[in-house]
Symmetry: C2
Subunit: 261 residues, 2 copies
Amino acid sequence: MNYATMRPSDVRALIRAGNIAVPTTGMCDGYAQANLVSLPKELAYDFLLFAQRNPRSCPLLEVSDVGSRELHDIASNVDIARDISRYRIYENGVMAGEYTDVSGFWRDDLVSFLIGCSFSFEGELLQADIPVRQIEEHCNVPMYNTNIPCKSAGVFHGNMVVSMRPIPHDLVAKAVLVTGAMPKVHGAPVQIGNPEQIGITDLEHPDYGDMVTIRDGEVPVFWPCGVTPQAVIMSSKPEFCITHSPGHMFITDVKNVNLKY
Amino acid sequence: MNYATMRPSDVRALIRAGNIAVPTTGMCDGYAQANLVSLPKELAYDFLLFAQRNPRSCPLLEVSDVGSRELHDIASNVDIARDISRYRIYENGVMAGEYTDVSGFWRDDLVSFLIGCSFSFEGELLQADIPVRQIEEHCNVPMYNTNIPCKSAGVFHGNMVVSMRPIPHDLVAKAVLVTGAMPKVHGAPVQIGNPEQIGITDLEHPDYGDMVTIRDGEVPVFWPCGVTPQAVIMSSKPEFCITHSPGHMFITDVKNVNLKY
């Protein structure tokens, strides 16, 4: 089965039927994937405001109606409780379990936030002949906690998490322009070449994901990361929260190229 | 007094002291101005979601904390109840009065939404040698109701309002590029040259503002307008709402050029 060339609706149908258990990296070439955060309505205002105040790390692609498992903008015929291949449920900030279907846990007060994912701009980088090392090395992107404070909103506060990609020195400006044109999926880098300036003291040991090779002449470049909202939510310990499991994203019907406009 | 070259903080101080009663058009050259909508917290989630779903007409520059008359991002040392030269108070969708100071009406449950304004991209158009007719003719921009539905959110629903500027036919593409680079202040046009396609049947008689001259060889170009949220709010009849009075905008400390990034 070549998931890369399949339509998003077909892959979502396979996921809903329980026939795909693996991460979604590389599936449905050219289509955007999204992070999921589902929270009780009681906390939804604070989280929506947090996203409004921190659009670099929390670019919202869609917010569901209260209690609804459907979406309207970024995909159709969706059951958000079944169309992701692996979910996490958190209770009071502690992971209570991983599931391939959370319809049995669904609550009528849940609001789902779909947040842009850097998978989208990686496709654009590759098309522009800029290497993406963790794809070459078949591992997860390295991610780091930083000292860059997010703007607080109600109960939600915390620091930005960033992802790192080593970029050949003569392609750094091009990488800024390519990703800067896609603000709905994190946009331009927040730091270029000086990790210690944002509180990263041990580049070899990322806080999340895997380390990748940095070759001679390459510069570590740091982008706001979709792990930020999850880290912030976990530190705020909401009584109940559903997220996707890292790497198991929601596949949208939106082409990456359309996220530029 | 040459308000055009003054600093935003100085003009806001004059406004707060009651020394400026006129519209803010042309004040503090190069700095962004903003629309104001202040609503009770009870309605704030629906309005924040409405803005998230309709970023073309409701681009949020900042959302205040509940009850706070201060801002943090787009200006400092602000009293949002006194730093606009004219306000409107609406009760159940009906205008109850205009005031130069609404501190006596302030409520601890109000949330203030500051929304981008096309004044920002007009400066960019002029710098790019694209004429802005209503500035040349010293009148208000013509605005029209359309048949373009906004995406609903809770109690808020309605159609987009657009502003129109006649653009010389050979500068239309340039005007699209200039404004398209500024999505935080409405961005690119929604319609070029075919008003009837968006439900505008009488171009000579705008629904708001003043008609301007359309010369031979010019094309009417339509942009999403900051009147949209006010029209939507008024049709939704919240029990209490404070807005700026049209033309009397909040002057921010943010340079227009910085709204591009």
